[in-house]
C-alpha cells in the first residue's frame, strides 16, 4: 500500500454514477460472478454436453436452442472491468506481478486461501443469485430486499468471523 488511492467519497460517487448510467441505459445493474458462471457453463457444455443436458443448472443456459453462454452481457462487462482496471493500474503505476499477503502468511498459503475464498464466493454467489456487485450493490441501488439482505449477510458474516481469520491479515502480537 505504497500508493494513495482516490478519495473514497469521490470514488463512491463515481462508482454510483457508473451504476446509475448502466441502469439508465440498459435497465440492469452491474455484476461480476455471472461471468464465472457463464465460463463454467460454457466449458461443461462443450466438454460434456450430455452431462450438461441432465443438470438443470447447465441445461437452462447451454445446449440446443441456446446461444453460446459466453455471449452474455456479464461476460462482456467483466472483460471491460479487466481492461478498465488494467488502464487504471497502468496510469497509477500499479502494474506489478506479485502476491499481496498478510505478514504472517506464506505466498503458498496466501494462494491456497485465496483459491478457497474464491470457491466459497463462487458457490455462495450462485445460491444468493449474485455477489457483492450483482446482488448487493446493484440490488441496493434499486432498493431490492435481495440487495440489502445479501449485503447484510456478506458483511455481517465478515464481521462475525473476522477474529478467526486474523492470522491471515494482521501482524502477530510481537510485531505490533
Amino acid at each position: 500500500m505504497n500508493d494513495r488511492p482516490m478519495n473514497p467519497y469521490l470514488a463512491g460517487v463515481l462508482l454510483g454514477l457508473v451504476l446509475l448510467l448502466t441502469v439508465f441505459v440498459t435497465g440492469r445493474g452491474l455484476g461480476a460472478s455471472g461471468a464465472t458462471k457463464s465460463v463454467v457453463v460454457a466449458a461443461v457444455g462443450a466438454a460434456a454436453p450430455e452431462h450438461a443436458a441432465a443438470n438443470p443448472f447447465y441445461a437452462k443456459l447451454v445446449g440446443p436452442g441456446h446461444e453460446n453462454p459466453l455471449k452474455a452481457w456479464l461476460v462482456f462487462e467483466v472483460a471491460g472491468v479487466l481492461l478498465g482496471a488494467f488502464v487504471s493500474g497502468l496510469g497509477a503505476g500499479r502494474l506489478k506481478v506479485g502476491t499481496e499477503r498478510g505478514p504472517r502468511v506464506s505466498v503458498r498459503g496466501r494462494l491456497l486461501f485465496a483459491a478457497a475464498g474464491g470457491a466459497l464466493f463462487g458457490a455462495g454467489a450462485q445460491l444468493a443469485r449474485g455477489c457483492t456487485s450483482g446482488a448487493a450493490l446493484s440490488g441496493m441501488a434499486v432498493l431490492s430486499v435481495a440487495g440489502f439482505v445479501t449485503m447484510l449477510a456478506i458483511f455481517g458474516t465478515g464481521f462475525a468471523f473476522a477474529w478467526f481469520t486474523r492470522g491471515l491479515w494482521l501482524p502477530g502480537k510481537a510485531e505490533r
Binding site: 478519495n7 467519497y9 463512491g12 460517487v13 454510483g16 457508473v18 451504476l19 446509475l20 448510467l21 441502469v23 441505459v25 440498459t26 445493474g29 455471472g34 464465472t36 458462471k37 463454467v40 457453463v41 461443461v44 443438470n55 443448472f57 452481457w73 456479464l74 462487462e77 467483466v78 471491460g80 472491468v81 478498465g84 482496471a85 488494467f86 488502464v87 493500474g89 502476491t99 499477503r101 498478510g102 485465496a114 483459491a115 478457497a116 475464498g117 474464491g118 470457491a119 466459497l120 463462487g122 455462495g124 454467489a125 450462485q126 455477489c131 456487485s133 450483482g134 450493490l137 434499486v142 432498493l143 431490492s144 440487495g147 439482505v149 445479501t150 465478515g158 473476522a162 491471515l168 491479515w169
Partner: protein, 397 residues
C-alpha cells in the same frame, strides 16, 4: 425515456454497452484502491474502512439518482430489473460469501481488477471461484429445493417497511453517514496516523456527508412524476396544449357500431365492470397504469382518436389530460362517465332530448343497443386477447 434496452438498443449493441460500462466499473474500482486485498479486508479489522465509504456512497448515489431520473420522467422504474429475493438462499449464500471474503480477501469484481494489474493471489481467487461455481453446479440437483425456497419475488425494502422510496434513501444516506463517522473513530483508534480517513481534512468528510444528504434529500422531496402530473392537470385553470374533447354517449355508441377505424376506446373501468358491461373493441387499461409502456403504441397513433372511458367523467378527463401532458395527441373522454352511457344507450326508455328528434334518437339507441350486444357476444366467443405485457429487462448474475 430510459432504459433504452430492448427498444432502442439491440441485444448485440448491448454487449458493446456492457464492455464500455465494464471498463468504467473496473477503472473506478481500481482507482478506489479495490485491487488490494489487504485494503478490502481492512473493513473487517477496522484499520481501513475505504470499502465501507466507497460502497455505501455508491449505493446512495445510485439509488438517489435512479429516483431523481424517474421523478424527471427520464427513467421508467417499472422497466428496470429488480433482482428477485429468495430470502434464506440470500442469507446463506451471503454468509458463505462473507467467509469467502475473509479467506480470499476479494469479492469477484475486485478480484478481476486485482488480477488485471498482476496480483497472483487474485488469479488464484478467480480460479477458485470457477471451482466453486462448478461444485455448486454439480450439487445443484440436490440443492435446487433449498435454492428456490422462500421466494419473495422482486420485493422492495421501502414497500416492506411501508415508507416511500425517497424517504428510505434519505434514511440510508443518514445511516451511511453515521457508519462513516463511527468507522472513522474506529479506524483512527486501530491504525492511528496511518488511518486512510486521516489522509484528508475533516472538512472534506463533512462536505461529502452534506452532499450525500442533499442528494438523498432531493430524491425524498421530489414528488414522483405521476403525482406531479396529476396535480398539474387537476389544478384549476389548467388548459391542455392539445385538444381534448368530451364525447357524448351517442357519438361513442355510433362510432363503435359504425366500426370507425379512427376510434379506439380505452377502458379504465377494471375487469369486473368490463365483464358485466363490455365495450366492443376497447383496450382495457388499469386505471393507475395509463402511463405504462405497454399501452404506448395504442396512444401513439395520432390518426386514431383515443376515447377514455372511466366510471366518472372526472377520472376519464384526468387520464386523458395526463396522456396529453406526456406527449400524446387526439384524445377524448366519455362525457358523464360510463353511467351516462349506461343510462342513455344501454337502458331503454331514457329521455331522448328534443321532442321532434326523440323518435329518431330512440330508434338509433335501440338499434345501437342490439348491435353493441351482438358485437360483445361475438367478441366473447372469439376469446379474450392475450394481456399486454411491458418488455422487462433481464438481468442478474
Amino acid at each position: 425515456m430510459g432504459p433504452f434496452v430492448p427498444d432502442l438498443i439491440t441485444d448485440q449493441l448491448n454487449l458493446v454497452v456492457a464492455l464500455a460500462v465494464g471498463f468504467l466499473f473496473g477503472f473506478v474500482l481500481e482507482q478506489a484502491g479495490f485491487s488490494s486485498s489487504r485494503r478490502l479486508v481492512g473493513v473487517f479489522y477496522g484499520y481501513d474502512l475505504t470499502v465501507l465509504r466507497v460502497f455505501f456512497t455508491a449505493a446512495v448515489t445510485a439509488a438517489a439518482g435512479i429516483l431523481l431520473l424517474a421523478a424527471g420522467g427520464l427513467l421508467d422504474l417499472k422497466a428496470i430489473f429488480v433482482n428477485p429475493t429468495w430470502l434464506w438462499p440470500a442469507i446463506v449464500g451471503g454468509a458463505i460469501m462473507g467467509l469467502g471474503f475473509l479467506l480470499g480477501g476479494f469479492c469477484p469484481g475486485t478480484s478481476v481488477c486485482a488480477a488485471a494489474i498482476g496480483k497472483v493471489d487474485a488469479m488464484a481467487f478467480l480460479g477458485g471461484s470457477v471451482l466453486g461455481v462448478f461444485s455448486y453446479a454439480e450439487l445443484f440437483p440436490r440443492l435446487a429445493a433449498f435454492a428456490d425456497s422462500s421466494a419473495l419475488g422482486p420485493a422492495l425494502v421501502p414497500d416492506a417497511l411501508g415508507v416511500s422510496a425517497g424517504l428510505f434513501v434519505l434514511l440510508l444516506a443518514a445511516a451511511a453517514i453515521a457508519a462513516f463517522a463511527v468507522g472513522g473513530v474506529v479506524e483512527r483508534k486501530v491504525a492511528g496516523a496511518a488511518a486512510p480517513s486521516s489522509a484528508f481534512p475533516r472538512r472534506l468528510h463533512v462536505a461529502s456527508a452534506a452532499l450525500l444528504l442533499a442528494v438523498a434529500g432531493l430524491a425524498a422531496a421530489l414528488p414522483d412524476r405521476k403525482a406531479r402530473l396529476v396535480a398539474k392537470v387537476s389544478a384549476p385553470g389548467y388548459v391542455p396544449h392539445h385538444l381534448v374533447r368530451p364525447m357524448s354517449p351517442d357519438e361513442l355508441a355510433f362510432r363503435i357500431v359504425d366500426g370507425d377505424h379512427r376510434l379506439r376506446v380505452v377502458d379504465l373501468r377494471g375487469e369486473a365492470a368490463r365483464a358485466a358491461r363490455p365495450l366492443p373493441g376497447a383496450v382495457s387499461v388499469p386505471a393507475d397504469d395509463v402511463l405504462g409502456r405497454e399501452w404506448r403504441d395504442v396512444f401513439a397513433r395520432r390518426m386514431v382518436q383515443k376515447v377514455v372511458v372511466a366510471p366518472t367523467e372526472e377520472e376519464a378527463r384526468t387520464a386523458a389530460f395526463l396522456l396529453v401532458e406526456t406527449g400524446f395527441e387526439n384524445l377524448a373522454y366519455l362525457a358523464g362517465g360510463f353511467p351516462a352511457f349506461e343510462r342513455t344507450i344501454l337502458t331503454p326508455g331514457a329521455p331522448a332530448g328534443e321532442p321532434r328528434f326523440a323518435p329518431v334518437v330512440e330508434r338509433f339507441r335501440t338499434e345501437a343497443r342490439a348491435a353493441l350486444a351482438e358485437r360483445a357476444r361475438l367478441e366473447k366467443e372469439a376469446g379474450t386477447p392475450a394481456p399486454r405485457k411491458a418488455k422487462k429487462v433481464q438481468g442478474g448474475c
